[in-house]
């Protein structure tokens, strides 16, 4: 199969690669770039576990082709912690017991990242709306909502 050259930025690093047009973005990130935080749960866009940000917008990487990310800036949960330190969002998930098995967590983190970048002080209903896009089989979701609320607080404190 012919390979298509693509050029994109992932978590701040520029990559130039050639991929099959059918190669999924999720596989490209995980296998070609070795970025393992993005997990794949259902492979047809329902569960949201594979959510990444493409130019700031949450997308299902299992339903996106790598070629679609050509020229884009992609962010994954691998890039959240900086300098070996958990981000405020990750810290909040830890404090509020926002994860159990941790498999859906990267998707939840990216959904929350998108929300908090657009809306630094979301209401509980706005957080619930965002979180309800993804499946979690362990937690019953409440602690995820609380984690995002706590992250918003931590980020406000950090901004002061």
């Amino acid at each position: 199969m012919a390979l298509i050259p693509i050029s994109l930025k992932v978590n701040g690093t520029r990559f130039e690669r050639a991929v099959e047009p059918r190669r999924l973005l999720s596989d490209f990130l995980r296998e070609d770039l070795g970025l393992k935080a993005t997990h794949v749960g259902c492979e047809h866009g329902v569960c949201g576990t594979c959510t990444v940000l493409m130019d700031g917008e949450a997308v299902r990487s299992c339903l996106s082709f790598a070629v679609q990310a050509d020229g884009c800036e992609v962010r994954t949960a691998d890039g959240l912690a900086q300098g070996g330190k958990l981000s405020a969002l990750q810290q909040a998930f830890w404090e509020k017991h926002g994860l159990q098995c941790g498999f859906c967590t990267p998707g939840m983190l990216m959904v929350a990242t998108e929300l908090l970048e657009r809306n630094a002080k979301p209401t509980k209903a706005e957080i619930e709306e965002a979180v309800s896009s993804n499946l979690c089989r362990c937690t019953g979701y409440y602690n995820i909502v609380e984690s995002v609320q706590r992250a918003a607080e931590l980020m406000q404190e950090g901004a002061k």
């Binding site: 492979e43 159990q100 098995c101 499946l135 089989r137 019953g140 979701y141």
Partner: protein, 828 residues
């Protein structure tokens, strides 16, 4: 303590003495704290190392061709086009695989034979027919598309009652005999006939529990490597029971356990469905050996949902509950037909499980169960949070509600009247199992207090006055914990039980290194629970050290020993037992060594905040690090003899705390699941009778899991389990049509609750009745939420739709099903 026994069980010597070494205390330093989970930082940063994150040099990828037929003979398979595709290393059919690999592990007795790839015949949609190994998964799937299979269709059996009379070509496993009945036996515990004869009222119901399953977001996978020289397999696996039954995979592959090392990894959820994963390991091993290079096989969602071997119970009950006029329950008898699907890996283990709490929290004097296990053209059953007991909980709660309706009693009052009382423990139930401790009225009252029931009643009444359908439901249920293995064999024919008394132990190694850091090795993996956090809190309590001083290591099967794994809500209790045993040996040695260092009597020493000191002499102390350094490097300054051998370490195997043999005639099953938790769930729901949509307005769950190690993580299990219970009750169903096609084969059709389906909150309460048999009095609590929610929700919906005279006797109560009930009610 005075135990309570049913008349048909001889009390003398029935209950072995407790082996508890650490009695429960009034307060602890680390146990009972909401310690943040030790596991989380690496999971939050993408460093979990789940099975799909592991990459081996030269690793190839496998894909599986699955049957699109429910029941057919395989006439011919042509793999030539697939083999010719560039990048394909290997194509293997079932017949070819059978030449090198035996049947998969079986726990039923007698077994129903299954292979990792179907041989000659497919028995359900999704059954593996052939496998491809290629340079990547894309090519492997391309090659699957090029395999040509010629089938000869056979009659399809999907209805469990029809399966009872199957014959001829509709029989799935003709070598077993001429029908699809895998087991048919009646068990009687206590004077059922007499109790029914004395009853004032007999309440009858037919109940149908639909098939749902765990469907964790991570599927099952294995990376297998084979060394042709040594003949040794190494496998990375997300199995939970690798140190328990992993060696059976070696048996399938034809190698001894000395040539099979299973390496655990972090697992993205199981809820029971990854206990064994032996079929996937057996397949990956077969492919790796045949392909001559490491092979990764990871199920995709379709593989998992059609063929995970872990669909949940699928039962039809015909029940009769005998009561006195005042609502006192006397006896319960039922027929249950359970649709096990195409294979029978665990036999009727899910009914063995059910029988450990078959009277629920109620003083029911006798029980009769006619069990009919049938085989049909569906994915086989396995484990899902509750392992069959969640179904009997629902059945009992449905019968309690039915009795309340017929006797015109308040369902809460009827339950209150029948609860086993706090002074009656330990309480032996008719099936022989023991309930170790409990305070069921306290759990009920705490739930009612949290819910503020008068407020709920007001909400319901006001809504009804406006024509809205609001209802309240209750469930008071048992939550057995600490799995042993009796359930897997006690219901087998006594002429061929398959096993005898089984301990299912758990082990640990505790080692203190020269710096004083404590390394704890677990023989069981992380499956989404909190094994590291549990172990850290208990070790910190034992040594009175800061949790940051404790490091957790997971053993592979080559280095691990005698562990069972998480499952049956056992891990926290069992690892606590192992830690207490190992810690005692290490602490004794620390005291011996530090006694010499400080010239003090061992009896005068105590552990205090990371140090060992002389009682009553502040300042006269050594840190654990100082003692550890001495014990490691300066042993020759200490007395001769093994008691002072260099180093500080101990292994300990903790056996199941309390389990005994069934009666030879099966008039009782012995004590086999006695660490008994309890719960009360209350639900307030609104039903839209026009659409059938159920909205949960409020929800309360109070659980008693004995001494709580970490209230935060226990509450996580309760809420998460309740979410799964909501799914089972209202949304989730593996629906097979009459041709055996699974029509809910994706997450777009198999509906797992999102946050939008959840109540605004699940308000959780804890009551703590410590176990007299486990260390610190801990009980398990991993499955609870799913074991209570279906009962509470069924009643709440029934109550909400009371004007339609609705009975919620079938799950799931999907909007469509609720509409059916309303429509039928409107016609009446």
């Amino acid at each position: 303590m005075t135990a309570t026994f049913p008349k048909h069980i001889p009390a003398e010597g029935y209950i072995p003495p407790s082996r508890q070494q650490e009695p429960p205390r009034k307060s602890y330093k680390y146990i009972g704290q909401n310690l943040k989970r030790v596991e989380d930082p690496r999971l939050l940063t993408g460093n979990g190392q789940y099975i799909d994150d592991i990459v081996l040099p030269n690793m190839a990828h496998a894909a599986v061709l699955r049957s699109d037929r429910a029941h057919a003979r395989i006439k011919r398979i042509d793999t030539s086009k697939a083999k010719a595709l560039a990048g394909v290393y290997l194509v293997l059919t079932g017949a070819e695989a059978k030449e090198m690999t035996g049947a998969t592990a079986q726990f039923a007795s007698p077994p129903v034979v299954q292979y990792c790839l179907a041989v000659d015949r497919v028995r359900h949609v999704g059954e593996a027919v052939a496998a491809v190994v290629a340079e990547n998964r894309y090519v492997a799937e391309d090659a699957c598309d090029l395999i040509e299979v010629e089938y000869q269709d056979l009659p399809v059996v999907v209805d469990p009652e029809a399966a009872m009379t199957s014959s001829g070509d509709a029989v799935l496993h003709p070598e077993r005999g001429p029908n699809n009945i895998a087991q048919h036996r009646t068990f009687t515990f206590g004077p059922v006939q007499e109790d029914f004869a004395k009853a004032d009222v007999v309440v009858k119901r037919t109940l149908r529990w639909g098939r749902s399953g765990a469907q964790p977001l991570e599927t099952v996978g294995c990376i297998a490597a084979y060394e042709p020289g040594s003949g040794k397999f190494t496998m990375h696996t997300n199995s939970s029971f690798l140190n328990y039954v992993g060696w059976l995979v070696g048996a399938s592959l034809g190698v001894p356990a000395s040539k099979l090392n299973l390496i655990p990894c972090v697992t993205g959820g199981s809820f029971g469905s990854k206990l064994f994963t032996h079929k996937v390991m057996t397949l990956a091993g077969t492919l790796a050996r045949a392909a001559g290079r490491p092979v990764k096989y990871l199920e995709d969602r379709l593989d998992n949902i059609t063929s995970c071997d872990n669909h949940g119970s699928d039962r039809l009950y015909r029940c009769e509950l005998a009561l006195k006029r005042d609502g006192t329950m006397q006896s319960l008898r039922f027929q249950v037909i359970d649709d096990y699907g195409a294979y029978f890996q665990f036999g009727v283990g899910t009914h063995g499980n059910s029988l450990c709490q078959i009277v629920g929290p109620y003083r029911i004097n006798s029980i009769q169960m006619e069990l009919i296990a049938v085989l049909t053209n569906k994915c086989q059953q396995g484990a899902y949070r509750g392992f069959g007991s969640e179904v009997t909980n629902w059945m009992l709660e449905r019968m309690a509600d039915a009795a309340a309706d017929e006797l015109k009693m308040d369902p809460i009052e009827l339950r209150r009247r029948n609860l086993i009382q706090p002074g009656q423990f330990p309480y032996v139930i008719p099936s022989g199992n023991l309930y170790d401790s409990g305070n069921y009225p306290a759990v009920l009252e705490e739930a009612l207090r949290i819910a503020e029931l008068p407020k709920w009643n007001k909400i319901r009444d006001e809504a009804r006055a406006k024509g809205r359908c609001v209802g309240i439901g209750i469930a008071t249920c048992q939550e057995r914990s600490v799995f042993s293995a009796t359930e897997f064999w006690s219901l087998n024919g006594t002429e061929n039980p398959g096993f005898t008394l089984t301990s299912s132990p758990e082990s640990t190694q505790i080692r203190i290194d020269p710096t004083g850091a404590i390394h704890v090795t677990l023989g069981s993996p992380f499956w989404g629970n909190s094994p590291e956090t549990m172990a850290v809190q208990i070790v910190a309590e034992q040594f009175q050290v800061d949790p940051s001083q404790v490091n957790i290591v997971y053993a592979d099967t080559q280095s691990g020993f005698n562990s069972t794994g998480p499952g049956g809500s056992r891990f926290t209790v069992m690892i606590a037992g192992a830690i207490v045993g190992a810690a005692k040996q290490v602490k004794d040695k620390l005291l011996r060594v530090s006694g010499h260092m400080m010239e003090a009597d061992v009896g005068d020493l105590e552990f205090r905040a990371g140090k060992i000191g002389v009682k009553g002499v502040p300042g006269k102390e050594k840190t654990i690090g100082e003692v550890a350094l001495f014990a490691h490097y300066f042993r020759l300054n200490l007395p001769a003899g093994d008691a002072f051998a260099s180093g500080l370490d101990a292994n300990y195997v903790y056996d199941h705390p309390l389990t005994t043999m069934p009666a030879a005639d099966r008039s009782h099953l012995g004590i086999f699941y006695p660490i008994m938790g309890h719960m009360c769930h209350l639900a307030l729901v609104e039903v839209d009778p026009k659409t059938g949509k159920v909205a949960i307005l409020d929800y309360v769950a109070v659980h008693d899991a004995g001494t709580v190690v970490n209230p935060m993580t226990l509450a996580g299990h309760i809420r998460g389990g309740t979410a799964q219970g909501i799914g089972t009750a209202l949304y989730e169903k593996f629906h097979y049509d009459e041709t055996g096609q699974l029509v809910t084969g994706t997450f777009a059709d198999y509906l797992i609750p999102t946050l939008a389906e959840m109540p605004p909150a699940i308000r959780v309460g804890h009551v703590e009745t410590p176990s007299p048999f486990t260390e610190y009095g801990i009980k398990g609590g991993g499955e609870g939420g799913r074991m209570g929610a279906p009962g509470a929700l069924s009643r709440a919906i029934e109550d909400a739709l009371s004007q339609y005279g609705v009975r919620c006797d079938e799950l799931p109560l999907t909007p469509r099903k609720v509409r059916e009930l309303v429509r039928a009610g409107e016609k009446r």
